[in-house]
Amino acid sequence: MPRYFTRDHEWIEVDGPKARVGITDYAQSQLGDITYVDLPAVGATMARGDSVAVIDSVKAASDVYAPAGGTVTAVNAALEEAPELVNASAEADGWLWELDLADPVELDELLDAAAYTDFIAGL
């Protein structure tokens, strides 16, 4: 399944009209130990670029921006008890939310894996 990245360090994995979102491994390494994840509500709608989740770490509270607009269909409930999952597995088990995409065309503006790797190498 295709996976895209944002310059705000979110990833989005697309499966037809559905997608799953998380933060990148680079993002979790910069945040340090994550202590709390505040997720959007199931059923919430979001536009691309909206600040929809907050990740608290020992260093900072950071907003997570929607890589694409749509309606939230599920959130990763495991993070409520175990926010450290984002540190351990940011790009797999530590996913944040799933959504029905409003407009898949929005994905065209995101980075692919190679472009994202180049982007963080320049930071």
Binding site: Q30, D33, T35, Y36, S51, D56, V58, A60, S62, E84
Partner: protein, 516 residues
């Protein structure tokens, strides 16, 4: 060593051989006394007061009485006094040494302020006393208000907000009231907040019901002017700018920004947290600011009181002044201060933020500070604060990365990053090392735009000798972090407790005492 002690003679401190140390029976280490929790030293049947068993028992019998014990630790008065005194000795305070928390302006609290605040005419007034019995207190509020208006070049000031963030809320509620009066409150819902602004700004905007749109910083550490101008429009209620900003830099484009925001129909809120850098030199009113809070506990030397009591008066432009909250002290035609409490007298006021007129104890201290310094003294305050910060920056930038050192002189605080530290060593390690050196750490990991940020604000009240000692400690810690000294990872080793597991404390906080 100094001129009074040229030989550097010191009294003997006895043996400091490492082998001479052994654990004590009590866990105390001389004057550094280990102190258990109240629940560990108190007892359920203990009580600090002798009650007469029969006194009032008949009255109590008529009332519902609890049947289970309250489970509070009973302590005698000396036990309670010693408990808190011992804890206080494990704490750091501005009266113990340099307190370099960036953006907090931890300056000395002059003792004359305390003397004035304790005068019974001020200390014993009650907010419900009739106005004619508290004319002196009202005059203090009015005089302080006059000074704040003069120093900021604004039209008016709301004195009641209780702290900086409360002041931010007051300013944004005034902006909302002004937009409502224009019939544009529903259309203008967005507050622009630059990345270089104070962390409380976006929280305040959201709490006041606005949507926050972040504006990036440019590589210099200042607001990206083009990005801000591009975002202006019919949906923008205003902008919140911290100036000087949290990178320790003066926002040079402030006037251009304010003019553009006004032309686009918005208002300019300025976070006044860093006013200490410019007091007596820059009047925010001249820069086009519509509202700004003033932390009396920063610039005007009232105590940082562990979360209170604070005072954050908000100065307002002509455009926002009518919407200031009540109660308000104004001067009548004869110059006599008068308290306005009745909304009928100020129909545009957006409401009330506090039950009473503000923090009287802070007002007296701040006015005492202002009157002892005078206009020329306040001008010297900002000059010396900026000089001290630049002395630190110049003395440390060869050993610590200073990301904006090329952006011009810093204002009242110097910003460093962890670039160049050995693999696995971070800002946190250096901060913990400062504890061993007897200093409160600086602000760390803020602002977010700088990796491993260390924000150091010395304030004007530190002597050169105090700064030199801090610089020596910082240079040694920077060297250890760059060399990867494993002992630094263990810091603090001289504090009452070793390094705590901050992650576990945040993930699984134990907020209530429970028997294990």
């Amino acid at each position: 060593m100094n001129d009074l002690n040229p030989s550097g003679w010191r009294p003997s401190t006895g043996s400091s051989e490492p082998g001479a140390w052994r654990p004590t029976v009590t866990g105390h280490r001389a004057l550094e006394q280990d102190e258990p929790l109240l629940f560990e030293i108190g007892s359920l049947d203990g009580c600090g007061v002798d009650f007469d068993e029969d006194d009032g028992a008949e009255m109590l019998d008529a009332l519902p009485r609890r049947t289970t014990p309250v489970a509070l630790p009973g302590l005698s008065e000396p036990e309670a006094v010693r408990h808190y005194t011992r804890l206080s000795r494990q704490n750091y305070a501005i009266d113990l040494g340099l307190f370099p928390l960036g953006s907090c302006t931890m300056k000395h609290n002059p003792r004359l302020n305390e003397k004035v605040a304790r005068m019974p005419g001020f200390a014993s007034v009650h907010p419900l006393q009739p106005q004619q019995t508290v004319e002196g207190a009202l005059e203090v509020i009015a005089q302080l208000a006059d000074w704040l208006v003069a120093l900021t070049g604004m039209a008016s000031v709301a004195m009641t907000p209780k702290a900086g963030a409360h002041g931010e809320l007051c300013g944004l509620l005034a902006i909302r009231a002004a937009l409502e009066a224009r019939g544009e409150a529903d259309a203008r819902r967005v507050i622009l907040v630059p990345e270089s602004a104070h962390g409380t700004n976006p929280a305040t905007a959201a709490f006041a019901g606005f949507t926050v749109a972040p504006i990036p910083a440019n590589p210099d550490g200042r607001i990206d002017l083009a990005a801000l101008l591009e975002r202006l429009g019919d949906d923008v209620a205003g902008v919140m700018i911290t100036n000087p900003n949290t990178c320790g830099l003066f926002e040079r484009d402030m006037k251009t920004i304010a003019d553009a925001v006004h032309a686009a129909g918005g208002y300019v809120y300025c976070d006044g947290a860093n006013f200490n850098a410019v007091v007596g030199r820059v009047r925010p009113g001249d820069l086009g600011v519509d509202a700004m809070h003033i932390n009396l506990h920063k610039t005007f030397s009232t105590p940082h009181g562990g979360g209170g009591p604070g005072a954050g008066p908000v100065v307002l432009s002509q455009a926002l002044a009518p919407f200031a909250p009540l109660p308000m002290v104004v001067r009548d035609e004869a110059g006599k201060p008068r308290l306005i409490e009745d909304p009928a007298e100020r129909t545009d006021a957006f409401g009330r933020m506090c039950a009473f007129h503000g923090q009287m104890g802070m007002f007296t201290r701040a006015l005492a500070y202002i009157l002892t310094h005078g206009a020329d003294g306040l001008r010297q305050v900002s000059g010396d604060a900026v000089l001290n910060a630049n002395y630190l920056l110049a003395s440390l930038k060869d050993v610590l990365d200073a990301p904006f050192a090329e952006s011009g002189a810093c204002m009242h605080e110097a910003l460093f990053s962890d670039a160049g530290f050995a693999e696995g060593f971070s800002t946190l390690d250096l901060a913990k090392g400062l504890i061993d050196e007897g200093f409160h750490p600086m602000t760390v990991y803020f602002p977010l735009v700088v990796h491993g940020a260390m924000l150091v604000e010395p304030t004007e009240t530190e002597s050169k000798a105090a700064l030199d000692q801090f610089i020596a400690a910082m240079r040694d810690l920077a060297r250890r972090a760059k060399d990867g000294d494993p002992a630094l990872k263990a810091a603090p080793v001289h504090a009452p407790r070793r390094r705590l597991d901050e992650t576990l404390a945040a993930r699984k906080p134990r907020l209530v005492w429970k028997e294990a």
